[in-house]
């Protein structure tokens, strides 16, 4: 038992150490101010990937992961999306591949982007109600869509499902029922579904999903993030007056220093127009994944600030030192 714990501590220590080393290297090696944050973020994303993979090898009730994630989004904004999400890492890794072929990125037309953004509620609701729906349907012994979907999200491929990471927390299968006040909160039927489904089909679909998203993100940066339901909790909560402080970690704009040069809108990986369009103050949008490209590339000192509560964590500065590499 004790060896297990020591093993765990060692694994965490190694991960943390590698992460710190990576960040230090970036800070020393990369002098170009306009991309430093992005490289640092890449390192942290890699460390997070390893950590999350490791977490999912345990049978931690995913409901708890879900709760942590959704609560974190309310306080820290979509920091998870920009800095910790392994799927995000995969989409970001496609970018240097694309640059190597000198292919430019494409932008989704603004109106379409907005409606994709709204569609995440549909996706969220779909996953929340899917189990209830299936509860009423006798899972048939043959291949059917619902079975396949459930198989996709849970079951024996959980470890590989870290690739589909954002979706996992949305369906909550685990061993053993969760009964609170005589209400059964678990979805044990999924285990049954798993028993019925064929291995090959679900594997093909899993690969197809990941493949499609990666191909999409070849041309459109962070394509999945635009409809990922992870940000939905923040959006929902923000509508209520008591939660105007949410999130604590946010971007703030100083209207007087802004020259409306538009760089923030152009470099944004999720095509968020709010930083450009809002007239100063706290940027309230749940589309922003806090990748901080805007603050990094803003050429006017102090125009964009990243704040945790009232404390400024990072601010835009005069990055005029041209790149020596890339």
């Amino acid at each position: 038992m004790i060896w297990e714990i020591i093993g765990d501590i060692l694994r965490i220590a190694v991960l943390a150490g590698l992460g710190a080393a990576g960040i230090l290297t970036i800070l020393i090696w990369k002098k170009n101010l306009a991309t430093r944050i992005t490289y640092t973020r890449l390192v942290i994303q890699a460390v997070a990937f390893a950590a999350i993979f490791y977490v999912f090898t345990y049978s931690i009730p995913l409901l708890y992961v879900l709760i942590v994630l959704f609560t974190m989004t309310i306080v820290l904004g979509r920091l998870y999306c920009g800095w910790l999400c392994p799927f995000g890492l995969l989409m970001d890794l496609v970018i240097p591949l694309r640059k190597a072929f000198s292919i430019g990125y494409r932008n989704v037309p603004e109106k379409l982007n907005k409606s994709l953004h709204q569609s995440r509620y549909v996706i969220l609701l779909f996953f929340l109600f899917l189990p209830i729906l299936l509860w009423r349907i006798q899972p048939p012994p043959n291949f059917n869509f619902a079975v396949v979907m459930a198989q996709l999200l849970a079951g024996p491929f959980r470890i590989y499902s870290v690739l589909l990471d954002p979706m996992i927390p949305l369906v909550v299968p685990w061993k053993g029922p969760l009964v609170v006040n005589q209400i059964n909160l678990s979805y044990p039927y999924v285990q049954d579904i798993i028993n019925y489904a064929g291995k090959n089909i679900s594997e093909i679909i899993a690969i197809a999903f990941v493949g499609l998203t990666l191909v999409g993100s070849f041309y459109i940066r962070r394509v999945w993030c635009r409809f990922c339901p992870t940000g939905a909790s923040l959006a929902v909560v923000n509508r209520f007056n008591g939660f105007k402080w949410a999130p604590l970690l946010h971007i703030e704009k100083d209207e007087e220093k802004c020259t409306k040069c538009g760089v923030c809108k152009r470099v944004c990986q999720s095509q968020v127009p709010d930083v450009y369009e809002q007239k100063g103050g706290k940027i309230t949008t749940s589309m922003c994944t806090l990748c901080l490209r805007c603050a990094e590339m803003c050429p006017y000192a102090d125009a964009l600030k990243v704040k945790l509560g009232n404390k400024t964590v990072f601010k835009s500065r005069n990055w005029l030192e041209p790149s020596t590499s890339e």
Binding site: A34, I95, K99, S102, I103, G104, Y105, E110, E255, E256, K257, C258, T259, K260, C261, G262, V263, R266, V267, R293, M297, P299, N318, L320, E321, P322, S323, E326
Partner: protein
């Protein structure tokens, strides 16, 4: 290039002898004025930085720099002149051509321009027409082609008139900049201009050459910003000196200008350490905004401000012949040709504070910029400089004045012409304004 005689659409035929007489007389007068301006700048600051000697030399519009450009031309390089800050100089540099701004700052040339257009037209336009008619401007003469941007009425018609003499390409700029289709339109104009320049110079603009051109301009912006930042504190450099350095970029060799400006900033930093101020830190700090002021004759107002009694010091300006030249860098996301061109298009269109734009909430970019400048550079008064005939700057005055009234900064509408005769009247106005500022600070 056109080799047959172009039938002139606008300009009259002038006998060669008359052209030569006019050119020689204005040139001689201008050389005297340039020398005089520099002498006065030297007198006002006895500890003038050594690095300014280079800029004094480059300031001679008939001297070293035109000779250099001529030498480059003989080696085969093309020279492309431009008349408005929207012209994408990075594209010109990437095609291995020499960009040079050719707006005229000669008062006397505007009288020649009166033969072609009414007197009510903006004097900068009339002067540029006049300069072309008598071949006064070395840079205009050396230009193989011109880029004009159709911003104000004057500029729009100027490109037609100058086509009597030179190949001129007009860039169509949308008047509402804060919209997606305006940006798309302008980006298309940039792409067309790229093709135009490539064809004209015979050089292809490659990813590498454009990257280098953008990086070179970013270096220049860095030096430029460093200089302006040094003017934030107590005065280490006369406003006129800084304005000359800023404006010299328009015709100087960009790489060399960057080096020399960095050297100047090094010297100025040493001055800051020694607390060697150019004048008392209590001198009223003035910001000039409005119609561009081109060297040499337009040094009239800055000279008055800095030699008045009581004197003032110009610590900042919002002029497209001054701090607007290099204020904004091109922010490239990924160094692909598409992204670089988009970044260039955006930089030129979006960050401009020119009053030729309008938007539903008014030209607030200019106001934000001015207010930020006033606060960070500790400006005490704003001189709103307008030449008679400039509709756009003149019409924006009320808006700017109200915004400045809100932050309790006095502004004065100073309107003048391309003439030396009103120096006396300008002096009384400027002195009254500076007196007002001095009295306010004494309270």
């Amino acid at each position: 290039m056109k080799s047959e005689k172009i039938e002139k659409k606008y300009t009259p035929e002038i006998p060669t002898k008359e052209i030569e007489e006019l050119r020689n007389s204005i040139k001689t007068a201008s050389q005297k004025i340039m020398a005089e301006n520099i002498e006065r700048m030297k007198k006002t600051d006895p500890n003038r930085p050594e690095a300014m000697k280079y800029f004094d030399e480059i300031a001679n519009l008939f001297g070293k720099r035109p000779a250099e450009i001529l030498a480059e031309k003989e080696k085969g390089k093309k020279v492309i002149g431009y008349m408005c800050l929207f012209a994408p100089t990075e594209l010109i540099l990437a095609a291995d051509a020499i960009p040079v701004r050719v707006n005229s700052g000669w008062y006397d040339a505007s009288k020649v321009g009166d033969r072609v257009v009414p007197v009510e037209v903006c004097p900068v336009i009339r002067s540029t027409i006049g300069a072309e008619m008598i071949g006064l401007s070395p840079f205009l003469e050396l230009s193989d082609a011109l880029i004009s941007v159709l911003t104000c009425d004057g500029m729009t018609k100027l490109s037609e008139i100058l086509s009597d003499y030179k190949t001129i390409w007009g860039m169509n700029i949308p008047r509402v900049k804060d919209s997606a289709h305006s940006l798309r339109f302008w980006n298309d104009e940039i792409k067309l201009m790229k093709a135009q320049i490539e064809e004209f110079t015979g050089n292809k603009i490659t990813r590498k050459s454009l990257k280098e051109a953008i990086e070179q301009t970013q270096k220049a912006t860095k030096a430029f910003r460093r200089l302006q930042d040094l003017r934030k504190g107590p005065p280490v450099i006369m406003g006129r000196d800084a304005m000359l350095v800023n404006q010299a970029y328009l015709w100087d060799d960009k790489v060399r200008w960057t080096e020399k400006t960095e050297a100047l900033c090094d010297e100025l930093e040493k001055r800051v350490q020694r607390k060697d101020w150019v004048c008392s830190p209590e001198t009223p700090r003035v910001l000039i905004t409005g119609t561009p002021m081109f060297w040499p004759d337009n040094w009239k107002v800055p000279t008055l401000v800095e030699e008045a009694n009581p004197k003032g010091i110009i610590v900042a300006d919002e002029l497209c012949s001054g701090e607007r030249i290099l204020n904004d860098p091109v922010g490239v996301d990924e160094w692909t040709m598409d992204d670089m061109l988009n970044a260039i298009g955006e930089r030129y269109l979006m960050s401009s504070t020119c009053p030729c734009f309008t938007s539903s909430d008014g030209n607030e970019d200019r106001i934000n910029w001015l207010i930020n400048k006033v606060k960070e550079w500790n400006v005490q008064g704003v001189i709103y400089f307008v030449v008679r005939g400039c509709m756009l700057y003149g019409m924006e005055y009320n808006r700017i004045k109200k915004a400045l009234d809100k932050i309790n900064i006095p502004a004065y509408y100073l309107d003048t012409e391309y003439t030396r005769e009103d120096v006396g009247q300008m002096k009384t106005r400027v002195e009254a304004f500076l007196e007002m500022l001095t009295a306010r600070t004494e309270i």
